[in-house]
């Protein structure tokens, strides 16, 4: 006999056509699966009513692996075969995993990715994650009474292409069809935004087991807009365990530990951390393999002290994300806490003090991500309820711009702009009679083209010949909702057009993005100086060209003496241009400009005389009036 859920008006599914979709929070420490039932998102618990599935897999010899609490139970006795926090290894090579030496695993460097040796054979992180996902899939299918059409799986905002691909592969191995990978903070916002429908700017502070993400979001009229993101993919609750672990070793003056003892002490450290959430002090009692007994008490004060730097480390990306969003603390209406680690009192306090307001906790911080993913999954599966016509906006990770003269970058769309976005800017020609313009689209934060990433080039041809600076070329950058960039250029007087389409993120991993961002900070001062030199060089070049063409046109106005002085000024400037001393270039520009001011005045006189000769005063006035009316836009 079938069990029914309540549908939205007019949307009862036809028999046997339920679209069962789930949201999965594949976490470092714990994973969850949630679904939307009768219009409400809820986490699906296991047969014992436990909502969390520890992200742990125990491999056994000749038997199927066990997942979750049962796997954790074997952690102290069989640490090498109980894989925990596997998310840290997803899409990583062996050198990218810190604290490797304190982990009990036998790592193997594979081609590009690492793997782990277990009694059940060599396992890749993808396979381990697939075992966790399979467990969640079976739990969901048992609870929903049918096969799933698909799942939305969450990933940290800072996951790069390799890590995202690894997550997708794991889902496929687990027999799940991935409707979409969703960023964890975005999922949390979905859960909060829809349930609370509160408008304003929110910060999502997500301190999970292994990753930290901060996102600044704006919620208004049901629209989620991601203003900026930041984070640290190697900072989480596990690091707090690690600090306690190190404190224990130091306090108890322990010798180097066996892997069994290390695992056991780490488990004790984690338990102490969780105990301190509601208590002033936690006992740490452990018997080591050598028979040595550790018996310590960790107080909240000590815990706060030894983790102060970790807490402070989370606030740095928070400041940067706020700066990227162009906001101050006062603009943030609320802070959404996500991840079990945010239950730690010192985190709550630090975040509260930083944002000058108590953080929001009205949804379970461990469940929000899964709930948001479930809501998204429900929509993507086509179980769309009325009133759910919200939009999810994303941001571009790096600035987009054009190469201008001298190899400089003119930024058209700054990074963290929300997409879809369109921006236009006007450019002009550099030389007299120039009939084509090469456009070079680049991505990056640096001032010089050579330091940014080239996305594509195209040419605007058939520009009517004009004096330098007279052509008006409107270049429009447009990024659509899928992150596809198209650039078009149009010469406004003649209407000639050219365009190109590129994918800004193509082949660029999040790591590469992070590196490019870091470079731009490290080289900011350097870049500014180099940009200044380049700008003077370009200006000098422009001046030389302008004077040369003036000499050709009106050189007869000059005395041989004056002409020679100008020629020598040009020679000086050209010599200075070759160097990198912008002050020298600036000085020569000034000299040449003062040298040519008399020449410019003579040219002006001639132009006016030519223009006005043989015309009546009122005709000239009419011309002036009409040219003012048709002024530039």
């Amino acid at each position: 006999m079938a069990l029914f859920q309540i549908a939205e008006p007019g949307e009862s599914a036809a028999p046997h056509q339920h679209k069962l979709a789930v949201g999965i929070d594949l976490g470092t420490t714990n994973s969850l699966v949630a679904t939307v039932k009768s219009g409400l998102a809820s986490v699906i618990p296991d047969a014992l009513g436990r909502p969390l599935l520890p992200s742990a897999v125990r491999y056994r010899d000749g038997e199927p692996p066990v997942v979750g609490y049962d796997a954790l139970a074997g952690q102290s006795s069989d640490p090498a075969n109980v894989v925990v926090s596997v998310k840290r290894f997803m899409g990583r090579s062996i050198d990218e995993v810190p604290y490797r030496e304190s982990m009990p695993y036998r790592f193997e460097a594979g081609p590009g990715a690492l793997s782990l040796k277990t009694v059940a054979g060599v396992k890749t992180p993808v396979e381990v994650s697939a075992d966790i996902l399979r467990e969640l899939r079976m739990r969901a299918e048992a609870a929903l009474g049918g096969e799933l059409v698909g799942a939305v799986i969450t990933a940290p905002a800072y996951f790069d292409d390799a890590q995202r691909q690894a997550t997708k592969d794991a889902a496929r191995f687990a027999g799940l069809s991935v409707l979409r990978l969703l960023n964890e903070p975005t999922a949390a916002a979905l859960a909060y935004g829809l349930d609370n429908a509160a408008e304003g700017v929110y910060a999502v502070y997500d301190l999970g087991g292994g990753t930290f993400d901060i996102s600044i979001l704006r919620l208004s009229r049901g629209v989620f807009e991601v203003l900026s993101t930041g984070g640290d993919s190697f900072l989480g609750g596990d690091d707090f365990d690690q600090r306690i672990f190190c404190w224990v070793i130091e306090a108890a003056k322990l010798k180097p530990l066996s892997s069994v003892d290390a695992r056991h002490l780490l488990t004790c450290a984690r338990e102490a951390k969780e105990f301190l959430t509601n208590h002033g002090a936690a006992p740490i009692v452990a018997r080591l393999g050598s028979g040595e007994v550790v018996d310590l008490e960790l107080t909240t004060e000590t815990f706060t002290e030894i983790t102060r730097t970790l807490v402070e480390k989370t606030l740095r990306p928070v400041r940067r994300a706020l700066r990227d969003a162009g906001l101050s603390v006062a603009d943030v209406k609320g802070v959404v806490m996500v991840g079990g680690a945010t239950r730690m009192p010192q985190i709550q306090r630090a975040v509260g003090e930083f944002f000058e307001k108590a953080p929001l906790n009205n949804l379970d911080p461990e469940k929000v991500v899964a709930l948001g993913a479930a809501i998204q999954a429900n929509l993507l599966a086509g179980n769309r309820a009325s009133g759910d016509d919200w939009l999810l906006l994303d941001v571009i990770p790096l600035s987009l711009g054009l190469e201008t003269m001298g190899g400089l970058v003119e930024r058209i769309i700054p990074r963290n702009s929300t997409i879809p976005v369109a921006r236009a800017q006007e450019f002009t020609t550099f030389r007299d009679g120039q009939t084509a313009l090469a456009l070079h689209v680049v991505q990056g934060e640096r001032e010089l083209v050579g330091d940014c990433r080239s996305l594509g080039r195209f040419e605007l041809r058939n520009i009517p010949p004009m004096v330098a600076g007279a052509a008006r070329i409107r270049v429009t950058f447009q990024v659509d909702a899928d992150g596809l960039l198209s650039v078009s250029a149009r010469e406004t007087t003649s209407g000639v057009e050219a365009s190109i389409a590129v994918k800004p993120s193509y082949g660029l991993s999040d790591d590469a993005i992070a590196r490019m961002l870091k470079d731009s900070l490290d080289h900011a001062k350097d870049d500014t100086a180099r940009r200044a030199v380049k700008e003077f060089q370009v200006e000098a070049q422009r001046l030389v060209e302008a004077i040369r063409s003036a000499l050709v046109a009106d050189g007869d106005l000059l005395s041989p003496d004056a002409r020679e002085r100008i020629e020598s000024g040009i020679a000086h400037l050209q010599a200075a241009m070759l160097g990198e001393d912008r002050h020298a270039i600036a000085r020569c520009i000034d000299e040449l400009e003062s040298e040519t001011s008399a020449f410019a005045a003579l040219r002006m006189d001639r132009t006016i005389r030519d223009a006005f000769s043989g015309k009546k005063i009122d005709a000239i006035e009419r011309e002036l009036v009409s040219s003012e009316k048709g002024g530039e836009t």
């Binding site: 006999m1 079938a2 069990l3 029914f4 859920q5 309540i6 549908a7 939205e8 008006p9 007019g10 949307e11 009862s12 036809a14 028999p15 046997h16 039932k37 009768s38 219009g39 409400l40 699906i44 618990p45 296991d46 047969a47 739990r139 048992a142 609870a143 929903l144 009474g145």
Partner: protein
């Protein structure tokens, strides 16, 4: 003629309605489809239709369109759990044949 909700079902419906934040009641109905002729509908109600018949059960307003009522008369809607799965169940005395899964039936 009457259609009722079990106390447990009513509690769940009231709970869902409160969290949904809108709606006047719960619609039970049938439509012709499925492998055994008729299939159930179970929906929230935002607008009451002119031919709706109204019942009240444990504080929940139940609406059934006049055409569906003969198929549903005497039905009690219950809320049960079967293993991990939980949801609403139609206990309908009019059903003569149901398909294997019980999603559609004939009278």
């Amino acid at each position: 003629m009457a259609v009722t909700l079990s106390e447990k079902a009513a509690k769940h419906v009231a709970n869902y309605m409160a969290k949904r934040g809108q709606g006047v009641g719960l619609r039970l109905g049938v439509r012709t489809s499925g492998c055994s002729g008729v299939a159930y509908r179970l929906e929230f109600v935002d607008v009451v239709a002119p031919d709706d018949v109204e019942f009240e059960s444990h504080g929940v307003k139940v609406l059934i369109d006049a055409k569906s009522l003969p198929y549903l008369d005497g039905t009690e809607l219950d809320y049960t759990r079967e293993g991990l799965n939980e949801g609403f169940r139609f206990n309908n005395p009019n059903v003569r044949n149901a398909c294997g899964c019980g999603e559609s039936f004939s009278v």
